[in-house]
Amino acid sequence: MARSPIKHLIEKEGIASIFFLVFCQVLALKFAAGIGTSNQAPSVAHAVAPWIFGPFQILLLYLPPWLGALVFPLIFIAGLAGLPWIVDYWGVKSGQRIFMILCGTVILLLIWFMMKEFWWI
């Protein structure tokens, strides 16, 4: 295979970094980060979790806390961490399928959360 100096790769990475920096800066100038409700103010009637933890809030709505917030995430982490070994034992196809099921569940919960909160607000 032909070889080229790493400089060419670094150039591309540099371009990607500049894009990312500009994107970040634009977001920062355009959209202010949320501040929430002051703790001196009267209690809010409805507290929405940050979107990253939306799946947790959905799980806690419908499952007992030990299941939704302890067992479920532990299963997820174990499945994620064990992926190379799952693939070794059951083959690439089923391994990737298990990974897809785990990720799909989280994304589904996230969409559920976003729909719910979107209607709620």
Partner: protein, 150 residues
């Protein structure tokens, strides 16, 4: 000739490893004790409510703590406004006569019994003492029954 310990490189390293493991094991307990100490954030379980409280009033919030008080014909009572699901602060909505939890949507009736949502049991009641000057002293550490009155 007495048997002598030979200080080979391997022996020294092994001793070093043993020392490190022993020292780490011994420091677990002090570390946990140090990190879990609450001595610098002592919280008194006593809450004072010194605003006038009418007979047959609705729930009134003691602004300094998560405690609400109310008085009916039988006496005064206090309620700790922590959701029994996961501890968020519940708020009384006088127009609905219900307690609402902002986090996971639990709803309690006016007496604090769970109506809907994931909350497993009723809101906790605390012991109240009426002082001679009419102010209320609430002891949140002392849990009482729902029909308790001071």
């Amino acid at each position: 000739m007495p048997k002598q310990i030979e200080w080979t490189r391997r022996a020294v390293l092994r001793l070093g490893w043993f020392g490190i493991i022993a020292a780490s094991t011994l420091s677990i307990d002090p570390l946990v004790k140090y990190l879990t100490s609450k001595e610098d954030q002592l919280q008194s379980p006593l809450v004072v409510y010194n605003k006038p409280l009418d007979k047959n009033s609705d729930w009134q919030s003691a602004a300094t703590a998560r405690v609400w008080v109310k008085r009916d014909s039988r006496g005064a009572m206090a309620l700790v406004a922590s959701c029994t699901h996961l501890g968020c602060e519940v708020t009384y909505h006088p127009n609905r006569k219900e307690w609402l939890c902002p986090c996971h949507g639990s709803v309690y009736d006016v007496e604090g019994r769970p109506l809907s949502g994931p909350a497993p049991k009723a809101l906790q009641r605390a012991a109240v003492e009426i002082k001679p000057d009419g102010s209320l002293m609430i002891n949140t550490a002392q849990q009482v029954e729902m029909d308790y009155r001071a």
